[in-house]
């Protein structure tokens, strides 16, 4: 019995230690966001004398965080809706209807999961130019959606395949049209799947950096991650560390809220996606 207790203490210590390692950088960021420049240089540990909420004001206003925020919200919201529609419609048909080209189209989407995005950045850059969609949030959204389609389609296919065929047959016998059946019956049954892909997609759209950096250069259309990079460069030029850290906090807060609210779903989604997949 004593041995087990000792084990427990050691193990718990390790767990707590790791928790500290995880949380500390974030706490430190929060702390630093309320310091002045001088305090920042003096010591990374010291507590701020006065809480410099002005850092947040400056970050929000002077470095256009509000615009970045707005753009990210727009792109994320737009993409989540469209991606959900596109993925669920495609996945539904691919998983439950047999037709000649079906298997080929299916493999197109599955293959897409493996393609590394970095390869396509440069051609995408010029594609958007040719389509006159460069520097357009719609253009960026189109690219974002198409990049998340493979994974979303595959996951949705997984969820749709678990619905009993009897449901469809019963509805068809009742004279229900295909579209209505999809909307009224299939979609509600696949809701956990939609939630899952929405969560993963949200994280992608909200945090995506490389594409946004390359495809959007108009100051007024920059999204948050790119804005953060720009903010860091500007903060470097102006050495306004307080504003930089405040900016970081502003980016992290929605994610934190999102995470706290949806944590259970995220974990379930991950398990479902991996275990079932």
């Amino acid at each position: 019995m004593k041995k087990i207790k000792f084990n427990d203490i050691v193990i718990r210590t390790v767990l707590i230690l790791y928790s500290v390692i995880v949380i500390y950088p974030l706490l430190w960021t929060a702390l630093t966001s309320l310091k002045t420049n001088q305090e920042f240089y003096k010591s990374p540990w010291a507590l701020p004398e006065k809480l410099q909420w002005s850092n947040y004001v400056r970050a929000w206003v002077q470095v256009n965080v509000s615009i970045y925020f707005k753009n990210s919200v727009f792109v994320t919201g737009f993409c989540i809706v469209l991606a959900a529609i596109m993925a669920s419609t495609t996945a539904y048909v691919l998983s439950r209807f047999k037709f000649r080209l079906g298997p080929y189209i299916k493999s197109l989407y599955v293959a897409g999961i493996m393609v590394p995005g970095v390869l396509m950045i440069i051609p995408t850059f010029f594609l958007l130019q040719n389509l006159n969609m460069y520097n357009s949030l719609f253009g960026l959204s189109a690219v974002y959606i198409s990049w998340t389609l493979p994974f979303s389609v595959v996951v949705m296919m997984g969820f749709f395949s678990t619905i009993l065929h009897e449901m469809e047959e019963a509805a068809l016998i009742d004279g229900c049209g295909y579209y209505r059946m999809f909307l009224k019956i299939m979609l509600p049954l696949a809701k956990p799947g939609i939630i899952t892909i929405n969560i993963f997609n949200f994280l992608f759209y909200w945090n995506e950096f490389v594409l946004a950096l390359t495809l959007i250069t108009d100051e007024g259309k920059i999204t948050l991650p790119v804005g953060m990079q720009t903010l860091m460069s500007i903060a470097e030029y102006r050495t306004d560390w307080g504003a930089l850290f405040a900016g970081l906090m502003i980016v992290m807060v929605p994610t934190i809220i999102f995470y706290v609210v949806f944590e259970k779903h995220i974990t379930e989604g991950m398990s479902a996606g991996a275990v079932k997949g």
Binding site: F125, N132, S136, F138, A142, G220, I234, Y237, T239
Partner: protein, 471 residues
């Protein structure tokens, strides 16, 4: 019954329409090139054409794309105001931001560039633009009368040699904007307080650095570790010219075999390596430019490499008792009177596909007028590379800048510059990487030179890379 084929074609048509609709549908942009096409596309002929229309700029548009960096935006906005006053009916569209090079790139590819631009040449390859025939030669505007004195051409007001930097063969493709001089910077008060003397040569530099080190509370030297080009420009090349004259740099620019392994380079590298081994601030290699500069401000280091933009760039951070002074690169060897200072500048140009190139060129010209230079001095603490560039602005410019500029007026002081930085970017990158390796101890002096020479050799052999020549 409707055939499925017809339905399919109908749906495809709808799809096409939707796609086109998506293409045309863009959120309001910040006033870029959407209306440029509607303006009168005939370029203004300098002599012929309706004078009345030329006078007011009626029906014309001028598109400007300008980099917003350490020098801010007031000076360019001022220039725009002035030009607008000259042509009241002219429509001027300006895009001023730190990432304008990203916007310029697709515009060049699409064949729809602005009429005049200034981009950070580290991010936009001016020489690649020249090679692709994307820039207009500016010799005609250079041979026209200068803004303040009609008896002198624009070409003649520049400090000799400055125009070579963005020319090839026979044409000048860009005008140099702000010029910055590199060297060492320090706080006079700190030096006075401790009785440290300002070193005039390498031996004295080592001497005073030893004193500083012994004092115990600050390191003698720091540089912008993540950006070794500061060290290259402010120390290494000044030192190499001490040993071998300006030929050293010329040979490097001209891709002369073995140029990087010249005794002068090896000696300079050895000097800086020996110095840094003893006197460099711990952790320098991971510092970016502002972090390194803060070490100077905080008193962790006594001297730093930088350009004349230093004071302005760190504005707001300087303590009241900090007397920022410029120091010649203290690399002179005994008996040598000649001093060499690196002078760098940015580039401003007019694209070949510009719709209103004549006004673009004229806009560039007015920026060199005295009143425009006054605004620059006042708002950005910078000067242009024209003869007597800082004259009359002494009260407007930071003291450190005035002092540095005045140094250049002395007889024994020459400005140096390496074109290889722009012509052969890979060599430039290798030089920086190798310098870091040298300072960190990974490379010996010979290995340092050899690694860069290797890259130079590769470039020499690669026929796809255009070779330039400077006489």
């Amino acid at each position: 019954m409707i055939s499925s084929k017809r339905v399919v074609s109908l749906l495809l048509c709808i799809l096409l329409v939707v796609t086109l609709g998506l293409t045309g549908c863009q959120p309001a942009n910040t006033g870029e090139n959407t209306q440029a096409a509607t303006a009168n596309t005939k370029p203004v002929e300098t002599s012929s054409g309706s004078q009345a229309e030329v006078e007011t700029g009626k029906g014309k548009t001028l598109e400007i794309s300008w980099f917003e960096g350490g020098t801010g935006r007031e000076y360019i906005e001022s220039a725009i105001d002035k030009y607008q006053a000259m042509y009241p009916d002219l429509e001027i569209k300006a895009e001023i931001n730190p990432k304008n090079h990203e916007q310029l790139r697709p515009r060049f590819v699409a064949g729809d560039p602005p009429d005049v631009f200034y981009a950070n040449s580290s991010f936009l390859d001016y020489f690649a633009l020249i090679a692709d025939d994307q820039l207009l030669p500016l010799d005609d505007i250079l041979d026209s009368p200068s803004p303040d004195d009609e008896s002198v051409t624009l070409r003649e007001i520049f400090i000799p040699g400055m125009l070579d930097r963005c020319s090839t063969d026979n044409a000048v493709y860009a005008l140099p904007g702000f010029v910055h001089y590199y060297g060492l910077w320090y706080d006079q008060n700190t030096f006075d307080r401790n009785g440290w003397s300002i070193p005039e040569n390498y031996a004295e530099w080592v001497n005073v650095s030893e004193q500083i080190k012994q004092s115990g509370n600050m390191s003698p030297f720091v540089y912008q570790g993540m950006y070794p080009y500061y060290l290259l420009r402010a120390i290494l090349f000044s030192s190499a010219c001490q040993y071998g004259g300006t030929e050293v740099i010329k040979n490097i620019d001209n891709l002369v075999p073995g140029a990087w392994q010249d005794e002068a380079i090896l000696n300079a590298a050895r000097d800086i390596k020996d110095y840094c081994d003893k006197y460099l601030l711990n952790g320098t290699l991971a510092l970016n430019h502002t972090q390194a500069q803060m070490e100077l401000i905080n008193g962790s280091a006594a001297m730093i490499t930088c350009g004349t933009f230093l004071e302005n760039e760190m504005a707001g951070n300087w303590p009241d008792d900090f007397d920022l002074k410029y120091m010649f690169p203290p690399v002179n060897i005994a008996g040598n009177e000649e001093k060499y200072i690196w002078a760098s500048s940015d580039f401003r140009a007019v694209p070949r596909d510009a719709k209103n190139p004549e006004m673009g060129k004229e806009f560039l010209k007015i920026m060199y007028s005295k009143d425009m230079r006054r605004v620059c001095a006042e708002t950005s603490g910078s000067v242009y590379p024209v003869i007597g560039g800082a004259e009359g602005f002494e009260d407007l410019l930071p003291a450190s800048v005035v002092y540095a500029n005045s140094m250049l007026g002395q007889d024994n002081v020459s400005a140096i510059f390496g074109n290889y930085e722009k012509w052969y970017k890979t060599i430039y990158k290798q030089a920086q990487d190798s310098l870091t390796a040298l300072i960190s101890g990974k490379y010996t002096v010979e290995e340092f030179a050899e690694s860069i020479e290797k890259e130079a050799e590769r470039v020499r052999q690669d026929d796809s890379i255009i070779k330039y020549n400077l006489n």
